[in-house]
């Protein structure tokens, strides 16, 4: 039995890992988690690229860029729709050392309409990342984090097809878990039809209210179910509700910069460490 597509260098990025944060349910802290984990990894010395695929451009704002600023002429929308535009043309530095970003803007909401009739519409991002990784003139990143929109459209499909790993942020609420189940159906479909390599890296419980019995019970039941049926895929650290996160968003900075001593910042630092450990453990699967 062959693992042809895993061994095929065409589908690898030269050791660079691409992690997408996806969940169909909105408001589960995908962007917050993506941005803060990216910042935490950068502070830990890793070279990180954050790609904002959400038309709301919250990740772009959180990293200090303006979505419609003239200096960010090209962004994710152009990256997906213009086949000639190289990835390195849309990478911009941020206020954080070792962290760069591919900004998004509101045009991304029209990407579905533009891409629907295009050839290879699901593989645009993967092609750009592959070419970027193969080039000898481009910067080397240890990990690429992709912030997906709260929908299962062509933009999200591009992220899922391009990614090597996936983190699913969830709230300990039933609707959020149902959204995760629906995401699983999409992942299974693209696995069979688009020959992708994405693997689940972990499930991150966010916006956890320790005073709510419901949150505690849902978290426990989810952890028990996942560990019993699939293994250790729920991150040990949970991200609790914190006003520091909201304040940091208002300030336009990740919480690990705005309030590095806060419990939320410490939690994201721990999650970043755990994510890096998980990436290292799964490295051998790629040969």
């Amino acid at each position: 039995m062959g693992n042809s597509y895993l061994a095929n260098p065409e589908y690898s990025y030269g050791g660079m890992r691409v992690v997408c944060f996806a969940n169909e349910k909105g408001g589960v802290a995908k962007t917050t988690s993506c941005v803060n984990i990216a910042a935490a990894l950068a502070r830990q010395g890793k070279s990180v690229l954050c790609i904002d695929m959400d038309a709301q451009a919250n990740a772009t704002l959180a990293l200090g860029l303006e979505p419609d600023a003239p200096e960010t002429e090209w962004e994710t929308f152009s990256l997906l729709t213009d086949t000639r535009l190289a990835l390195e043309r849309v990478i911009f530095p941020t206020m954080i050392e070792n962290l760069d970003v591919v900004p998004a803007d509101r045009q991304l909401s029209n990407a579905e309409k533009v891409l629907i009739s295009e050839v290879g519409r699901e593989t645009r991002l993967r092609t750009k990342l592959r070419d970027f990784a193969k080039s000898v003139f481009t910067k080397r990143y240890d990990v690429v984090l992709v912030d997906c929109p709260p929908s299962l459209d062509l933009v999200t499909l591009n992220a899922l097809v391009a990614a090597t790993d996936m983190v699913v942020p969830v709230q300990p609420k039933l609707y959020s878990l149902k959204g995760m189940a629906r995401l699983g159906e999409t992942v299974a479909t693209i696995h069979s039809q688009l020959n992708v390599q994405i693997k689940l890296l972990g499930i991150l419980v966010c916006m956890f209210d320790r005073t709510a019995s419901l949150d505690v019970i849902v978290h426990k039941l989810l952890r028990d179910k996942i560990s019993r049926e699939y293994g250790d895929f729920v991150f040990r650290t949970v991200i609790g509700k914190s006003v520091a996160v909201s304040e940091a968003e208002t300030d336009g900075r990740p919480v690990v910069l705005h309030s590095p001593g806060s419990s939320a910042a410490r939690a994201y630092e721990q999650v970043a460490q755990e994510l890096w450990e998980r990436l290292g453990r799964s490295q051998h699967m790629y040969g």
Partner: protein, 339 residues
Amino acid sequence: MVRSLISRLRGRRRRVVYGPQVLVSMERPWEPGRVRRFGPVDEVLGTLTVGDLVRSMGQADSPDKGDDAAQQKLLPARYDIQVMSGGESEFRSVDADCPAASLLAEALAEPDHPQVHQLRIRIMPLQPEDEQHRTALTRHSDQAAEDGPGCVLDEEDLEQQMGVAARPPAQAVTAEPPQAPAESSSAGLRGYMRKTDVLRAELLPKIEALDFSGLFVGNFGLQARALDKAHRVSLLDPETANRYLMAANQHRRDGEYHKALHYYKTLVTHDPDNEDFWFLLGKTAADLGRVKQAAHAFSTAKRLGHGRAKEELAALRERHPEVIEKTGDLLSLWRPTYD
């Protein structure tokens, strides 16, 4: 003979109860429940309260005491009532003095109500700190008696009356979430555990029913596919192989080449020395435009002695000279992956 039959029927008269019946079941979370049938509703439940039902079931003091129910002392408890009449209602908290018939009033008002109604009573013992809860129950039942029929108590109303304290400011959690609150008193823990037991019982089936397997297709998909393939191969006895071949040929005739290719791949895995399987695999791959795969299959069939494989390979070479010429003499050494 007819007279003897009539006399037999008269001797076996059965008591017929008219009107809807009520089945009452009572349970405590840690004890098996008891069931008793009451009926008819109008005659029996017209004057009974929930406390009367509990006493008559012998659950008041000891589950073994069934006699002198009226003399039994009713322990302080909260009674959660569920009416199952054609469908299940939610559990509602009531007091011991609540008339049992009022619980069924809504169900009996339905024009097509079933003949058997079920009252499910869950007895939840109160704790000392629940004194406030009992007081609120009593106060609400008094108020409800003034307001009109019905004595059910919504959880929201109860919390409102108890004046649920504002929750402390939310704090980030950096470690494993606790399984119980920080209160040290065992009574508070029991009260907390009661609530969590109810929540867990409600949530467990909903969460267990969710299917997350799709998320793990990439993690375990290859293993599943390998196991599936091995399973298919192990099932290929000659009769099954023959069925697979017939199915594959039919798919090919219908133009469903992908399906046919799937069957031919299984067949060559099962019987790699069968030149016919390789030949058919080659034909199907060529129809799908998979030139390299077709060339390999025809080469293998030719090596195994298939009579027509050579000319098919030659025809393929004519149609796709650039592909065949690239591999040249090394074509026979090329091993494609069929995954």
